[in-house]
């Protein structure tokens, strides 16, 4: 379920995320689905998501100081933003990403 990216050569203007999950924990699964839904909706052609399963790479998460799951880090565009939770509050995410909220309707 990974869609790995090399964050160094990301396409210009693309949104790059790192999503830290804990295996198939319910809120991890929800976060995964929510992040994909948001990306498809708001920047369908310009996003990259790297998924890191803490169950498989715990020491990497430690090195990257990610301790609660789920956590998503927006790496690009700068500044980096860290969001914790299952991403069910879409408005909070859009605000954090600096996107206009509720564009449709």
């Amino acid at each position: 379920m990974t869609e790995a990216v090399n964050t160094l050569d990301h396409p210009k203007g693309a949104y790059v995320f790192k999503l830290y999950l804990a295996g198939g924990a319910p809120n991890s699964v929800r976060a995964f689905a929510n992040l994909y839904a948001i990306c498809r909706k708001h920047f369908p052609d310009s996003h990259r998501i790297e998924v890191i399963d803490i169950m498989k790479e715990p020491l990497r998460a430690l090195a990257e100081t990610v301790l609660v799951t789920p956590t998503v880090v927006k790496l690009f565009p700068l500044p980096a933003v860290r969001i914790i939770g299952d991403l069910s509050d879409e408005e909070a995410i859009l605000r954090a990403l600096g996107l206009p909220q509720k564009e449709e309707q």
Binding site: L67, D86, A92
Partner: protein, 501 residues
């Protein structure tokens, strides 16, 4: 829930903190959760860190410190203040996880501790850690902003510790409520296997710290609140456990430094006992203490002189005017003089300080001048308990102690001391002013001296530039003669003697 069989008796690990292992009857429960609760500045973080450090140093038990509130580097740096070798320990025995929640983190929906526990599990396996501290766990849980979720995560943590047989220490703030614990985390002590409450209170304008074991599943523990201090080497708990082997009594006599007083005491006081000198202000208590110190140093015995609120140099200078010269012993290091400001600390802290000095110097004789200074800080009951513990500490170490106590009030026959320590003194000498025929003269009498047929006479105490001594007793009409009257009688007696010859 873990399906491991429950051990019959609670397995424990020594915290290595003096006094703390006494009140917990042997330390922390292994493979269980210990909760340290307290208000801000109550010493939770220091205590948790010290347990981690001392178990690593004493037993080689490796540990992880997860810092949720304070920067992990700063926590480690705090350890160095207490003289702990943090860089050395961090090479392999200790690991710090910085789990501070940055203020710019955005929260969207629910999260849990699964990730953290996975990370810790991997790190613990990698380094072989057995002890894990979660410092200020309430900060992270507070982010959940949902009491049910907070409780769920705490239980998750608790069960995870049990499953992996990790010994966990959780610290958590409590609202300043006393003795009640925060309603929000009210269930925490119920969940934990061992719950410890730290508190700080002001008594007589002096702050004092206390620790109490609220519960300890499957183990006895001290029920009472016990004072503790955070000293230069970390936490020291004033244990309530007073059971010590009785020291072997000495037959040797120790000089008081005044020949005639030794005669009155049938050769001095027994080694390893204590002597109390009471008197009003300016009565000469410190001078007698000085004579005792000089005699001890003359015998080449390490001596510790603790004075409250008086400068050591002043004491040495004043004693010098009476031919009691302590300067050479100070220089050689045989004598250590410490001047302590009474108001600077609680009586409990004073006790810990003095205890530490005794531990460092191993003196054979100790002077505490005046012990009654303790009564000024920390309230009567606390000060009395401290004074008693100080006396017992010295007795157990076979140290001969001279302590002075200021008498309140002017009635010299009202033989009460501020701390009521006269009951635990082995010898008790009273100095007072005798007002007779327009003169004020110092008088000395021995009120008690255990194991000695001491003199019952009241003697005049004479301070002169050649030293301290007691005058020969002269009585007339049932009164002890002092000052001019005594001198006249003395002159007459010596003339008579000369005339006879």
């Amino acid at each position: 829930m873990s399906d491991k069989p429950q051990p019959a008796a609670t397995e424990k690990i020594f915290s290595g903190i003096e006094g703390f292992d006494d009140i917990t009857c042997g330390g922390l429960p292994v493979g269980r959760t210990t909760l340290l609760m307290g208000g801000p500045g109550s010493g939770k973080t220091v205590l948790a860190l010290q347990i981690l450090v001392s178990t690593a140093m004493n037993h080689g038990t490796r540990g992880i410190f997860v810092a949720f509130e304070e920067n992990a580097r700063r926590v480690a740096a705090n350890g160095e203040i207490f003289g702990w070798d943090m860089p050395g320990l961090e090479k392999s025995d200790l690991y710090f996880v910085d789990a501070c929640v940055q203020s710019d983190v955005v929260k969207s929906g629910s999260f849990d501790l699964t990730g953290l526990l996975l990370v810790l599990e991997a790190k613990a396996a990698e380094m072989g850690a057995k002890l894990i501290v979660f410092d200020a766990i309430d900060v992270l849980l507070g982010l959940l902003d949902d009491p049910t979720a907070e409780a769920r995560e705490l239980y998750r943590l608790h069960e995870w510790l049990m499953l992996h047989h990790f010994t966990g220490i959780l610290t958590s703030k409590v609202e300043d409520g006393q003795p009640a614990i925060s309603a929000r985390y009210g269930f925490m002590p119920f969940m934990a296997d061992c719950a410890v409450m730290l508190s700080q209170r002001i008594a007589d304008r002096v702050a004092a710290r206390f620790v109490r074991v609220l519960k300890y599943r499957g183990s006895p523990h001290a029920l009472n609140e016990v004072p503790f201090v955070i000293g230069p080497h970390g936490v020291e708990v004033g244990s309530s456990n007073g059971v010590h082997p009785e020291p072997q009594p000495f037959d040797e006599r120790v000089s008081t430094g005044i020949v005639r007083l030794d005669e009155m005491l049938c050769g001095g006081i027994y080694r390893g006992t204590n002597m109390l000198i009471t008197g009003s202000s300016g009565g000469g208590k410190s001078t007698l203490a000085g004579a005792f110190v000089e005699a001890a140093c003359c015998r080449n015995e390490r001596t510790l002189y603790i004075s409250f609120d008086e400068n050591s140099r002043d004491i040495v200078r004043d004693l010098g005017t009476m031919s009691i010269d302590l300067a050479p012993y100070l220089e050689s290091g045989l004598l250590r003089m410490e001047s302590i400001r009474t108001e600077a600390a609680s009586s409990e802290e004073h006790f810990m300080n003095i205890k530490r000095m005794i531990k460092e110097q191993h003196p054979r004789c100790v002077v505490i001048d005046p012990l009654s200074a303790l009564a000024r800080v920390g309230g009567g009951m606390a000060a009395r308990a401290v004074a008693e513990r100080l006396i017992y500490l010295c007795r157990n170490k076979g140290i001969t102690v001279l302590f002075t106590s200021l008498l309140e009030g002017s009635d010299p026959h009202l033989e009460t001391t501020t701390l009521h320590v006269s009951t635990i003194s082995d010898s008790w000498i009273q100095i007072y002013y005798a007002l007779l025929d327009g003169e004020r003269n110092r008088a000395l009498s021995i009120i008690k001296s255990r194991g000695s047929k001491h003199s019952n006479k009241i003697r005049e105490l004479i301070f002169s530039d050649t030293g301290v001594t007691l005058a020969d007793p002269y009585t007339a009409g049932g009164e002890v003669l002092m000052g001019t009257l005594r001198q006249e009688k003395e002159t007459a007696a010596s003339r008579q003697k000369a005339g006879v010859q």
